[in-house]
Amino acid sequence: MSLEVDRLECGYDRAPILHGVSLQVGPGELVAVVGSNGAGKTTLVRTIAGLLTVRSGDLRVDGSSFARTSAARRARTGIVMVPEGRRLFPQLTVGENIEMGRRAARGRTGGEDPVTALLEAFPILTERWDQQANLLSGGEQQMVALTRAVAARPRYLLLDEPSLGLSPLKTLEVFRLIEMIRERTGAGILLVEQMADQALQAADRAYVLELGRVSMEGEAAEVRASDEVRRAYLGVAG
């Protein structure tokens, strides 16, 4: 019972970007992937979400492969991504954006609406319900993007640089929201982050990606404590 990435290779045109990356995310688990820009982090999540094609290797959820299905189909089976830069539909309202998220959950309804809890926790969303998305601040947009993803009833949630372009204060808030989503939905979360420090503090387990390869994996705390990571990603001399 997990999301498995098995010796994944892929890339644009001729240049390969990922060279045999393997990782797992269990249900309810928060897994961080850290690494420098160009290491292939974004390529990794975009490939899992189906926006890039798999060249070789496999993608499985609960044992069955989905490496050849379309992005839309993956979303409908509960593999949901929040893209880099949030990518709200700028001219739709907050409510319509969240409604679009619900489309991925068609056929998987039942039980409590996962959005309700978030709306209760963040009344600002209800206040802004009829406002056009591009008029929101960066932090609010990220909140809507995460809510939209929750509306899709994710079994596995892929987050691409949720802190990008946010101030330190807003970054903290977003991480708290991610924590809350994990508790409420029980989704496995794959978090790709430039802000290595915060990501590693929040995560259960972590992978370090370097030049398209996994160079280190383990408990997030161990990874965070290792010398290489401290030097290269946390900016600690020594």
């Binding site: 992005a71 979303a75 001219q91």
Partner: protein
């Protein structure tokens, strides 16, 4: 006054066809330059089934619309989609649809011959008096249909979930796919609907001028102009653009001769584009750094 009424009615014809440009532009940011040939395709398909007397006229028209819709969806899948992969500067689809137009026009001409053929299907004969001007019932039907189709499209886009999806795809197709909706499918459906509208226009128009391979060409130019004037991203655009273009060109040709009517209409396009590049009702897209 006559020219004014006739211009409005003519504008309706252009507006109906312009709607097919606006539809594909809104969802896929592409235009099908072979629309003129889909007009002819619709007319000839209906002509081909005209002899099936057991079929009511409405159903015959539906056959023409359906055939064009299927061909339209296929055209999107195989000639547009592969040629729009490299961002907004990528306009290879424009060349491939022009090529499609050549092929279809050539094929229809070789099969059906170049001269117009009389079409009796879905034809209203006679004329009515509108504000002192004699307008053929068929033309009035087309103009009325333009209004009906526009209103239907606007309501659908605002009130239905298909409309929501359409607006979402127009803003960000990739993210739409992350919401479980295939933008490719949306594009094919849009092309089907848009080419269906073109075929509908062709059928009704053929009843007035006859079906011929080149019947779409003059409509193509005028309806592109109408769509651009109204704004390619606005569903209401064609009606406004059609009214302006129709009246201006009709009044000018009435005063100065046919060639100047068309010239005036096309000059209108240039004036509007200088003044409002997004068209009269279009939405300006922000340039983002």
């Amino acid at each position: 006054m006559d020219a004014l009424v006739l211009g409005l009615v003519l504008g309706g014809l252009y507006a109906l066809l312009a709607q097919s440009f606006v539809l594909t532009f809104i969802t896929t940011k592409t235009l099908n330059f072979a629309v003129g040939e889909f007009v002819a395709l619709g007319a000839f398909v209906v002509l081909a089934v005209a002899g099936w007397s057991w079929l009511p006229d409405v159903a015959k028209v539906a056959v023409g619309v359906l055939v064009a819709a299927v061909v339209g969806a296929a055209a999107y899948r195989f000639l547009v989609l592969p040629f729009m992969t490299e961002g907004e500067h990528d306009v290879r689809w424009l060349l491939s649809t022009v090529a499609l137009s050549f092929v279809m026009l050539n094929l229809i001409t070789n099969v059906e011959g170049p001269s117009p053929q009389r079409s009796e299907t879905a034809r209203l004969s006679g004329a009515v008096d509108v504000l002192g001007a004699g307008v053929s019932k068929q033309q009035l039907l087309i103009a009325a249909l333009a209004v009906v189709v526009t209103v239907l499209l606007v309501v659908a886009s605002k009130k239905t979930s298909a409309g929501l999806v359409m607006r979402a795809v127009s803003q960000d197709p990739e993210t739409t796919s992350l919401m479980g909706v295939s933008p490719r499918l949306v594009g094919m459906v849009t092309y089907a609907v848009a080419m269906g509208i073109a075929a509908l226009t062709g059928t009704l128009y053929a009843a007035t001028v006859g079906a011929s391979p080149v019947m779409g060409a003059p409509l193509l130019v005028a309806s592109i102009a109408v769509a651009v004037v109204g704004g390619l991203s606005s569903l209401w655009g064609p009606l406004l653009g059609g009214a302006l273009y129709g009246v201006l060109s009709e009044v000018t040709s009435y005063e100065f001769g046919a060639i100047w009517g068309e010239t005036a209409g096309l000059l209108l396009v240039i004036v509007v584009l200088v003044w409002r590049p997004q068209g009269l009702l279009g939405r300006r897209t922000e340039v983002k750094l």
